[in-house]
Each structure stands twice: as C-alpha cells, then as structure tokens.
Subunit: 130 residues, 2 copies
Amino acid sequence: MSGKALVNLSAGESKELLATARVGHLAYPSHRGLDLTPVNYALCDDVLYIRTAQDGTLAALAPGGEWVAFVVTYLDRLSQTGWSVKARGKIRGVDEEAEVPGGDPVPWAEFPASMLLALAIEELTGRRLG
Amino acid sequence: MSGKALVNLSAGESKELLATARVGHLAYPSHRGLDLTPVNYALCDDVLYIRTAQDGTLAALAPGGEWVAFVVTYLDRLSQTGWSVKARGKIRGVDEEAEVPGGDPVPWAEFPASMLLALAIEELTGRRLG
C-alpha cells in the first residue's frame, strides 16, 4: 500500500469541516492525569459546545481555565482518505439552561442530568489526507 | 430524539473491539500542554503499536515513561449506536526495524521517515451505546 500525502488546511477550511460533524474526541486534564473521551458537540462562531453527564469526569472542568484539545477526524476506510481538525483552547461550564446559538448539541447517550461546557477556540488547525 | 443507554464493557469485550479497528486517537503530554492526534495502530497482546512521523510531535515520546490515553470509537450515525474503548498506559519508542507481532500498523499517510511507538496497556475500559 502506498501512503497518501498529508496536506495542511487553512483555519477557514478547518472551521468549515468542524461544522459538518457532531462527534469528536476531547483530551483534558483530570486528577488521574490526562484523559480522553468521545463527545457530542455543536459549533457556533468560535465556540464548541459540549453536553455531557453532570456526574462524569468532564464535570470537573466546569470551573473553567483548563486548556484542552479537541479533535474531529473523518476517515473513509475504503479509499483511505479523510481529514482531521484540531481545536485548542480553554474550557468552562456554562449555564445549563442557556440556549446554544445554532442549536443544542444533543447527546446520543441518555444522561440522567446533563451539563453544558463551552470551549473557546484559540487555535484551529487541520490536515487532509489523500 | 431519545438518548440511548451507555453500558460498560468488560476488559475482554473491550480488547476484542480494540482488535477490530485500525485508527484511534492518542492524547499525550507535549511541551505545549496536552495534545491529541489520530493515529494508525496495531494491537498485539497488551501492547498497542503506533507508527508515526519521525519528526512529528509524537516523536518526543520515544524516550518513554509518559502516561498517555488512547481511544477508539466506532459510531453508526444512522442508528446512533456504537462503542468506545479506552486504553491507558505508558508509551515508549521501540526499535524501528522491530517486527511487530501480528503485523505492522501501516500508516495511511506517507511519512518520509517513520518511527514506532509501543503503548503498554495497563488499564482498558469500554462502553457500548444503544
């Protein structure tokens, strides 16, 4: 198999792709060291909104101030092409009753109680494969 | 939309699912704070083998000793069901010429020079959705 080229995307291209998906992976600091989890999200302007379980490990991020990294990757297994977009910034909890501009990130999983986190994107990079 | 239940998987179930995929996301410490990237991998016994670019940020993990988190998520968008498996452990570089038991994790992207990392899994958890 011959590998394909990785091409850097502009911030504009990265943002467009970020707006097309609904599930990404969030890396964040936890009391056990760094942690990683898949999350549902919605994008509005330069903010990623993430809805999660109120009693989960992500809830510890609510006070705000932690730097996190968030990646969305789309891959076509057959053609082995795709793209990956990474957002970095600080995350904090926002009012659970707040209306998310552009629509709430409805979680696929059923949470007995949910909380809303907002990641203010300070850095956006992306790569396309193939 | 009604959310679906999240069910914890056993370590055995998690390992079986981990063996079915080829791309995951790796969260790791970097000089810029925590970082996150999609990677190709191969699983053999309790070790995840990751092949990456020699000049990339992952290369800084080669000396070994860093704790990392690795997640593989499979989602069916139509039915909104799927699974996610997380492995945690220490990562280190291994001899690039080494033969990976069970087959090399061939990267989808073409790297001018590649290196091999090994994640010794110390903790394996998984969840199924739906």
